[in-house]
Amino acid sequence: MNLLNLSIAQMFDFAAPILFAALGGVVSENAGVVNIALEGIMRFAAFFGVWGAFIGKNPWMGLLWGLLIGAAVGALHGYISVTWAGDQIVSGVAINVVAMGIITYLLEFVFKTTGYSPPVPYFGAAHYRVHISFISKIPILGAFSNLTLLVWFSLIAVGLIHFMLYHTVLGLRIRAVGENPHAAETLGVNVMKIKWFATILGSVLAAFGGISLSLGTLSSFTNAMPMGKGFIGLAAMIFGKWTPIGALLASLVFASAQIVQLLLQGMASGIAKQIPLGFYLALPYLLTIGALIGVVGRAVPPASDGIPYKKEG
């Protein structure tokens, strides 16, 4: 594979966790539930994925564990912010803080190590990748010849969620609940059920993101995970105007910034050498901030996004 194809393939690897988190946000916030716990959920899923893969000796078991823990933590967020109508930000922050502590503890408890887990079977291994050999030589298209299953999942998820939100009855109701839950309620839509569904689905998507981190291109959990990928995912959601396709494009922009950073670092010569390494590392995040400043004024969230819903009477 040439450098271009390799870079594009790498961009998809970088994009997958961000995209999953962004899609999780899109689903959840279209139903009016802000879920900043996506970051914490990714951490839970990244670790439990590795744990599952370690015990089951294959990444599928890891995926199962990761998704289950994602759904469970999502249920906690749903219980606090949907059933109890609690503050969604407080719940999210709490879950993120808990994720930080518990997983650090579990890492030491389960693997008797600090910092990172031992390597486990992962989806990046050659025999888990999706080989499409006949396109491998074609420029650009060749980038798709050797992607991981998780990257393909992330791309398929964009299509599925787009279809769900804009072409199904369920999607119409999800968006209605995010815009005006009282109107939806008076029309007999079960607001609580819809919000619960969206919260859990959003969390499961974020869990996919966490697994993409630890079982995608890497084969172990490092304690720094997910390094803000959940938050960048939320930024991608906003940048993408709360739509799945927008989230995809935004995730690719953010991921390509990361590629550019790597390339610049590698090629840096002359004056560029004087630029501290930190700047290159910060580049994707600076771009995120820049993109948000440029676009956020025009991006309008669902009208009832983040507002706890309580039934009248």
């Binding site: 815009e179 009248e312 009477g313």
Partner: protein
């Protein structure tokens, strides 16, 4: 046949008894009105009928069958539909999506948008309610949005239609359209419950009228056997003076002078196209006009929310160069805003906070950035007493007050501010008779004190009753100037619609 029967309906809220043993019996095919002041329990009663509230006690019968509704879903199944005061619409959705939500045509799990659009076309045809199914609700005028609400409930086969203060947001023409629709629905055999506190409208549209006061049913009367005055007395519990007393005050010097003022709205469209007028001390100048003809831009320019594109505003002899709400208030302008919930008050703040807002940085309310609670509380307590704000509790949140009492808080604040010019923008919007009377009284008081008043109003009776001089605005221009003695509602109405112009020499 009886469409709806209520027996001993009682609803107890933590602090108020909203409905107290209400018995009503409504015939199929009649237009039945329920009137009462704000807070009389009309909306609560309707929410019970619609399943949004569960009554504390009492029984409901729909078409002779006893029912027990737990949610609007149950009401819909019983063929009861409601057009809410605040529309239950999703602005970003199309007309079609709004109407079919909750009962969508589908193919498997897929939302069948095409069939939905076709259905809306059919139903809109059938009931003569014209809408564009593909238009986004956000782009529709209020009258059409209401039509979407009506279609929504008709599509679900509603036989009993509840309208909660449907005319509060409508222009007179839209109200006429609505009444046509109501009569057509009645002809179709639908039963209509019409909630209002506008007696003129109730007298126009109803067959029978029930009056509520403080949660209790005062009586049910046939329209032919009653009149506005009697209804008002039943509603308020005492004789109400609907006529505004004429007070003549010697006109003083010019306080506000506006010359060739033009301004754009928030979308950048020129809405105010060069108006000139003066307001003298001790004079009420009324701007009459249909909503959206530049009044908002005039108000915004005067108070400093919009920078005018041209023109001159002179207040107390001084040309206002940089207009900000802070500056104009220091120069002697008081302001009663048209939207008390958004512009007039901070709803989650207490009365004591709302009542000093704007003066909170000034001595004696604060010194060196520290609020003086004692002085504030004394002032608030005095104002609450003087302006009869109920309950007499300065620690209650403004959002928990009735509309009339919210307006009293604003009056209590603005009147106490040092001013000689009052900008009163739709000061009685959405108020009941009792509260309206209160506002009129205070406007006249102000006039007697020699305050110059610019009154912006959509209500012609108010304009004719209060104003010394009337300016009619149409499409951003003043198309007529007259005095109440020389005109009538009909002529004003024609000018408001741009059919007639009338010039009067500025003296």
């Amino acid at each position: 046949m009886k469409a709806l029967e209520l027996k001993g309906i009682t609803k107890q809220f933590p602090r108020v008894l909203a409905n107290d043993h209400i018995n009503l019996s409504i015939e199929k095919g009649e237009i039945f009105s329920i009137v009462g002041e704000n807070g009389a329990g009309k909306s609560t009663l309707m929410k019970i009928v619609y399943g949004l509230y569960t009554p504390t006690s009492g029984e409901i019968y729909v078409f002779g069958k006893k029912v027990n509704m737990k949610s609007p879903h149950d009401a819909i199944k019983l063929k009861i539909g409601m057009v809410h005061q605040e529309f239950m619409l999703i602005p970003r959705f199309t007309v079609t999506e709004n109407i079919v939500l909750g009962d969508e045509p589908r193919k498997g799990i897929v939302f069948d948008f095409k069939r939905a659009v076709k259905e809306i076309r059919e139903i809109s045809e059938k009931f003569g309610l014209k809408v564009d199914p593909l238009e986004k609700v956000a782009n529709l005028p209020v009258g059409i949005q209401q039509r979407v609400e009506i279609l929504k409930i008709l599509r679900r086969g509603a036989e009993i239609l509840i309208f909660d203060e449907p005319t509060a947001v409508l222009t007179p023409e839209e109200t006429e359209d609505l009444f046509k629709t109501l009569r057509a629905l009645k002809k179709d055999g639908k039963t209509i419950l019409f909630i209002s506190h506008k007696l003129k409208e109730v007298m126009e549209i109803s067959d029978r009228i029930a009056v509520l006061r403080r949660g209790k049913l005062q009586g049910v009367v046939k329209k032919e056997e009653t009149n506005e005055r009697e209804l008002a007395r039943m509603m308020v519990g005492r004789e109400v003076v609907l006529e505004i007393p004429r007070v003549k005050v010697e006109k003083g010097p010019v306080v506000l002078s506006v010359r060739d003022l033009a301004a754009k709205d928030h979308r950048g469209i020129l809405k105010l196209k060069g108006v000139s007028f003066d307001v003298h001390a001790g004079e009420i100048v009324a701007i009459a006009g249909v909503e959206g003809n530049g009044q908002m831009e005039l108000v915004n320019s005067l108070i400093g929310f919009t920078r005018p594109v041209k023109g001159k505003i002179v207040l107390n002899g001084e040309e206002m160069k940089l207009i900000t709400p802070y500056n104009v208030r220091r120069k002697g302008m008081a302001y009663i805003p048209e939207d008390r919930k958004r512009r007039g008050l901070v709803l989650p703040f207490k009365i004591r906070e709302n009542i000093i807002m704007g003066q909170h940085t000034l001595y004696p309310f604060s010194k060196g950035g520290i609020l003086n609670d004692k002085v504030i509380n004394e002032f608030a307590t005095k104002q609450v007493e003087e302006f009869d704000i109920r309950p007499r509790d300065i620690y209650i949140n403004a959002g928990n007050l009735s509309g009339g009492n919210q307006q009293k808080v604003i009056l209590a604040r603005e009147m106490a501010m040092k001013h000689n010019f009052l900008l009163a923008s739709q000061p009685t919007r959405g108020l009941d008779i009792g509260a309206m009377e209160f506002v009129y009284k205070h406007l006249i008081e102000e006039k007697k004190k020699g305050i110059a008043i610019l009154l912006i109003s959509l209500e012609l009776s108010e304009v004719l009753g209060l104003a010394d001089r009337i300016l009619v605005m149409y499409e951003g221009e003043i198309v007529g100037e007259t005095v109440p003695e020389e005109t009538n509602e009909e002529e004003l109405g024609m000018m408001m619609l741009g059919i007639k112009r009338k010039e009067r020499l500025v003296q």
